[in-house]
Structures are given as structure tokens and as C-alpha cells.
Amino acid sequence: MPAAGAGGAVRRLAWRLRLVFLFAALAALPYLLSYSQQEIAVLLVINVLLVSSYRLLTLTGEWSLGHVVIMGVGAYASALLAKQLGVPVPLSTLLGGGAAAAVAAILSFPLFRMKGFYFLIGSFAAGEIIRLIWKRFTDPFGGPKGLKRIDPFPDIEAGFLSIDFYEPVNYYFLALVVVSASLFVLYRIERSRIGLTFHAIHWQDRLAESVGVDTFRYRTLAFVIASFFAGIAGGLYAHYVGAVNPTRFSVDQMVYVLVWAVVGGTATFHGPILGVVALTVVNEIVLRALGLDTVRPLIYGAILILSVLYLPNGLESLGTRLRARLQHWRGGPAATGSEPA
């Protein structure tokens, strides 16, 4: 109907305007930050991709403890391809994502024989095996010390244009482009029929099977896609920092990803992104600026406990709650306040 069509057009326009404002803000952001804060912004953008890719896996209802190791697979693969075979870094980063996806595909055979808690433990064990391989085989993985002097993204020199990717502001924009494109793909996947099937498997896997959905294949697909993008995040990390080692991809780091996801919430696409942004800003900028370096783990833990107690559905539910409160204050009909689980 014309009215509905007009409403839809307005919504689309509003959505596009929001995106334009968001990208304008993201483009302006590094120029409002100090040099070291630009460095933090680079790592934050990479972590946004990591946690968003993790969410795709959780859509099928499975929570993994091996996602950071999978990121490490991408980082190691990309670093080795560039360092030892001379593969151009942009290509090696893509191939690193491919390697992470391939490892995930292999791991899916034993792992998806398990569900729930058993999958969680199984993914942890699989991740530890991969980390032990990195430690055990000094050639080619560098052993416990890992790999260093990893090739950076090549500088761009074209006439008046000179881009040095050592500079965090330049790498920020590179990472932003890669991560934005990746997020777009992840978003489209979630909104596609495949994404709906992931949701169906999460909530009613038996029912989905009864109507012909091959849950093993779809779980594998989610795992492989999530791992591909985690691998891309690993490549972006390795070629920026210039070093990777097994400790960087330990379960300690995985806990951070879980905390970002839990604090942000996983019901919406933007939930985990809110979590990683909010906690990184608090942990890396605000608390450091306040001279609270040595008590940051304590405060971080307190934030996690408080958010679980008072925001069990994550930061993403804050908007819904605030709207409900506003309606209540205005004396309107009580909002249901229901939030996605």
C-alpha cells in the first residue's frame, strides 16, 4: 500500500542517515584522539570484528572457548605466509581467514558431536591442542616466543599520496574498511534465510531437524564463517603489532571476548559491539587516565558482576529499558519492557 510504502521509505532514509552519521563520526574519531588512543582505537576496531564474528557462532546456541585461538590461527597463518613465502600482506590476511575457516571445518567433525556445556569444554580442549602445537614446533611457529618481525601492510606511495601503515591513524582507517565490510557480510548472513535457520537451530533444533534442516551442516557453516572473520581479525592484528605468540591467544584472552559479549548482550547484532567499545573505553582510556592502572582488573570484575546483576540482557537492553521508563514517567501505557532473551 502507498502509506506503508511511504513509511518504509522514511525508515530506510532514517536508517541510511544513521549510517552516514555513524561513518562520519568514525571518520572523525581518530582526529579527536591522542596518538596512543589512536593505537587503542585500532585494536578496538579489530576486537569489534572478533566479538561480532563470535556472535555469529552463538546464533546457533553454541558458545565456544576456542574463538581466540581460531583468531590466532588466522594471525599465525597470515604471518607465516607473508614472512616465509613472501605472499603480499593483504592476500595473506585473506588466506589467514581461509586457514582459520579450514581449521574450523576440520574441528567441526568432533566438536559438533557435542552440544552445550560439552561443546564449550570440547572447544577449549581443541584450542589448547592448537596452542600446544604452536609451542611445540619452534619451526615454523616460533615456539613459546612466537613470531616477531611480521611484515606490516605495505606502505602506499602514489604521487602525492603517501600512506604509512605504521601510523595508527592510517591503520585505523584500513582496519575500519575491512571490519565494516566484514560486519556488512555478517549482518547480511544473519538477515538471510541461513541466519534464520541458525536462530531456528538455537531455539528448536529438534523441530528444525524434523522439517529437514541438517543441523550439523548449519552449525558447521556458522562455525566456519565465524572463524573466517576471526582469522581476518587475527591477520589485521599480526600485521599491525608485528608479533604473535601462543600466550596472546590463551583462554585468558577468551575470557575478555566472553565478557564483552555478556556485558554487551548477544540478542542483537550491535550488542557485543557495545560491550567491547564500552569496556575498552573504560579499561584502556578512562581508568588509565584516572591513574588506576593497578586496580583495573578489580574494577573490570566489578563491572561484569554489576552488569550481570542489573543488566542481565546486556547493554543492548538499556535502550528498551530507558524507553519503558520514559513511557512510564509520561503516564502512558506501561511498556512491556520485554527484551530479547
Binding site: S34, E39, K145, L147, K148, Y240, N245, P246, V286, T294
Partner: protein, 436 residues
């Protein structure tokens, strides 16, 4: 609606409101901080880039505490004389959480925003993240772990702790003073700190004619249950139990397990940080004769001629007064001793600029190490002569107190047994040209 639930709702609303306001305020404070805040003309800033939290914090935080004492003393005396002008010293700390990426961020902050002239690091896993920054910015860095050194790390020096090479002195002393000990076992966390140390101990044991009962036992750094580790180590009833360079978080439970499993033999370790707490968990008898490499600085032996650390006994007393004697660790004095060397070099150079200080520091090929005059050394092991190597103390726990038994020469051991060291370092892939 009941009063109780209303109260709860108000409380929750207050919480959310307070959180939002606090968050916004904190964020505003963070954003409002000056982007660049260089020190004034009479103060030189020194960066302290080390783990201040997490499992490796024991080798960072006590060092910063020691540096604050050093700075207070130097500043009370009028500061460091550089080019005829006195400068106060201010330390700027950054917690790198023993992470390469955070170390890179910290290095850029210290250099570009805090305007430091020298950065002290623990090193290890964090150095590779910083190396590119050091090269680009030409900043002088120090590490406690010379295994970070390589021919391309020209602005990195290891002027205090030549980890793990000094561990040979403990084994050598033990072999001479307890020749009846013939067998040993060793364990270490499987990481960049554990492996070169294991290679060093293996070389030292071989040089001393002590037989290894088993292959080195590498445990994962995430290990929390050390009972099976210790059971395996003690299975052959070894004369010597070597704890390598385990972090304090591992040395303590390992000692507890050895005690609980009835071990009566000799223990040797690189460190015994917070050893009073180990004694509390075990017994003074069990810890009697425990050999390690890091003295308490109230030891009278540190007043002997040749020791360059300024007022060691007073330094220890002040440290104990400020932070408690049980907080003294292997690194409490090390970063401060590096500052002695830096201040001396800056004075000689007449400048605090990194390149000038480095040149003055290495002039003549020798330097004033905390434990005596030492040589800039390391080409054969690290590919570059940027490690300051000389004497190192062997320490034993006697009557519940760390006591220096003797100062021994590392270069003298090296001259006799360097082939063994190179052999074991190579076998574990720890030579500079084998790394990453």
C-alpha cells in the same frame, strides 16, 4: 505495587542513572585530558613499561616501587646533574599486562605524549610489539631479559639482569659446596622465559657433572594444580629439584607441593620472590639451604667494595618501610640499579637524549653494574654486545633469611663452558638466530 518492590525499582533506577552519569563524567575526564603533557624544563621523565597487573606483575610492580624510592632520593639531593644543570626525575608507569600490543600502545604514549627520555621494560613477550617503535623513534629501552637482544635491536640494552645466564653461578656454587648431590630434575612453564632458563640450567648441570634424571618438564602457564607436576618430578627421588625461572605464582605452589609430598633434598631456583610467604606455607626447616639468585638488600655482603648499587641496606630498609619486607622481590632493586647506570651515562654525555646516553653508557666496553664493574657482552649468544655481564650473587635461605653466599663471575664460567651453553640453547631453539 508493594513498597518493597518500589524501593527496589527506585534503587535500580538510581543505579542506572548513577552509572550513566559516572560513565559520562569519566569519559569526559578522559577525553578532556591534555593530549601532550611534556615535563617542565627541570624534570626528566623516564618511562616504566612493565606488567603492573596479572600473573607477571611480580616482576613489574615491585620494580616501579623501587624506582619511586630512587627518584625520591635523587630528587632530594637536587636531581641528576646533566651538562651542568640539575634535573629532577619523574617516573611515568604504564601497565602493559605482559601483552605485546599494549606494550606498543604504552611505548607510543610514553614517547609521544609523556616525552620520556628512556624506557625501562621487563621485556619478554612484550618486546616484539615495541621493537618497531624503538627503531622508528630512536628511543633507548632497557630489558631485564637479554634473550630479547638481537643484532637489529640496537637501542635495546640489558644493563642489569642477564637472565638466565647468571643461573650458572648457583649451580656452580652448589656443585663445589655440596659435591654429594649427583642427580637433578627441572621444571618450567612452557614460555619464552622458561625455555632459555632451562637451557642454561642444563648447561650448568652438565658442566658441574650433575646428571639429569629426566627430560625437562614443561608445564602450561595456565596450570593451577601442581600436585601431578611435583609427583612426576619427585618420582626418581632426585638430589636436586630445580624450579628454573618459574613465576612467583608457580614457585610458591611448587614448593608447597614438594613440602607436602615429603621432599627432603636440595632446591634451586632462579627466584624466590616473597620467600617469607613460602616459609609460612611450608617450614623454615624445609626452606633451609634453598638456593636462588636474588639477595635481600639488607645483606651486609652488599656493602663490600666493588658493589656499585648506592646504599643498598638503606634502600632495602626504605622499601620495607613503604611497602613491607615481604613485598621485596627479585626486581625491587633492578630497575633502580638501571637508573644508576642511566644517570651516570647521562651525566657523562651531558645530555639525556637517548642516542647520547647509549653511547656514553657503552663507552670503553665496560659499565658499572650493580654488583661490580662488568663488560658489555653478548655477541656469541645474542648477536650484539648490549648485555652488561660481570659478577652475580649466589643466595641461600639460612634461618629463614636470604643470605649471599658468594659473588661469582659469569664471564669466567662462560669462558670455560660456553660450548655447553650454545649446545643447549641451540637444542631448545633459543639462540638469537633461531627466534621467530
Amino acid at each position: 505495587m508493594s513498597r518493597k518492590s518500589l524501593d527496589r525499582k527506585i534503587s535500580r533506577r538510581k543505579f542506572l542513572g548513577t552509572t550513566a552519569v559516572s560513565g559520562a563524567t569519566l569519559a569526559a575526564m578522559g577525553a578532556g585530558l591534555p593530549r601532550v603533557s611534556f615535563a617542565d624544563g627541570h624534570t626528566i621523565r623516564i618511562g616504566f613499561l612493565a606488567p603492573l597487573t596479572g600473573p607477571v606483575a611480580a616482576w613489574g610492580k615491585p620494580g616501579l616501587d623501587g624506582c619511586l624510592i630512587w627518584a625520591d632520593w635523587i630528587n632530594a639531593k637536587g636531581g641528576v646533574d646533566i651538562g651542568g644543570k640539575s634535573y629532577n626525575i619523574e617516573f611515568i608507569g604504564y601497565d602493559n599486562e605482559y601483552d605485546a600490543a599494549k606494550a606498543r600502545t604504552g611505548a607510543t604514549k610514553l614517547i609521544k605524549e609523556d616525552g620520556v627520555k628512556f624506557i625501562m621494560m621487563l621485556g619478554g613477550d612484550t618486546w616484539p610489539g615495541v621493537q618497531k617503535v624503538a627503531e622508528r623513534e630512536g628511543m633507548l629501552f632497557s630489558t631485564l631479559l637479554p634473550s630479547d637482544l638481537s643484532p637489529d635491536s640496537t637501542t635495546l640494552v640489558a644493563p642489569c639482569e642477564v637472565h638466565p645466564i647468571y643461573n650458572v653461578t648457583g649451580v656452580e656454587w652448589l656443585a663445589e659446596n655440596r659435591p654429594e648431590l649427583k642427580t637433578a630434575v627441572i621444571c618450567a612453564q612452557d614460555d619464552a622465559l622458561g625455555k632459555p632458563s632451562v637451557a642454561t640450567y642444563l648447561a650448568a648441570f652438565e658442566a658441574a657433572g650433575i646428571e639429569m634424571q629426566d627430560e625437562p618438564l614443561f608445564f602450561d602457564p595456565a596450570t593451577t594444580d601442581f600436585a601431578p607436576v611435583m609427583t612426576k618430578l619427585l618420582a626418581g627421588n632426585p638430589d636436586i629439584l630445580c624450579l628454573d625461572t618459574c613465576y612467583a605464582d608457580y614457585v610458591h605452589p611448587l614448593c608447597e607441593q614438594a613440602f607436602q609430598q615429603g621432599y627432603k633434598g636440595q632446591i634451586i631456583s632462579c627466584t624466590a620472590d616473597f620467600y617469607q610467604k613460602i616459609i609460612e606455607k611450608t617450614s623454615a626447616e624445609f626452606m633451609e639451604g634453598f638456593i636462588f639468585q636474588f639477595p635481600d638488600f639488607d645483606d651486609p655482603a652488599l656493602n663490600s667494595e666493588g658493589v656499585n648499587f648506592v646504599n643498598p641496606n638503606e634502600f632495602y630498609a626504605e622499601y620495607a618501610k613503604r611497602y613491607g619486607a615481604s613485598e621485596w622481590s627479585a626486581v625491587s632493586w633492578e630497575y633502580a640499579s638501571i637508573m644508576d647506570l642511566w644517570a651516570d651515562a647521562a651525566g657523562k654525555a651531558g645530555s639525556a637524549e637517548p642516542a647520547a646516553v647509549l653511547e656514553a653508557m657503552k663507552a670503553g666496553g665496560t659499565g658499572k653494574h650493580a654488583f661490580g664493574t662488568a663488560d658489555w657482552w653478548g655477541t656469541e649468544l645474542f648477536g650484539i654486545d648490549n648485555a652488561l655481564v660481570g659478577n652475580w650473587p649466589v643466595v641461600a635461605i639460612e634461618g629463614g633469611k636470604a643470605t649471599i653466599k658468594e659473588f661469582r663471575s659469569i664471564p669466567a664460567w662462560w669462558d670455560k663452558h660456553k660450548d655447553l651453553m650454545v649446545k643447549h640453547m641451540t637444542a631448545l631453539g633459543q639462540m638469537w638466530n633461531q627466534r621467530g
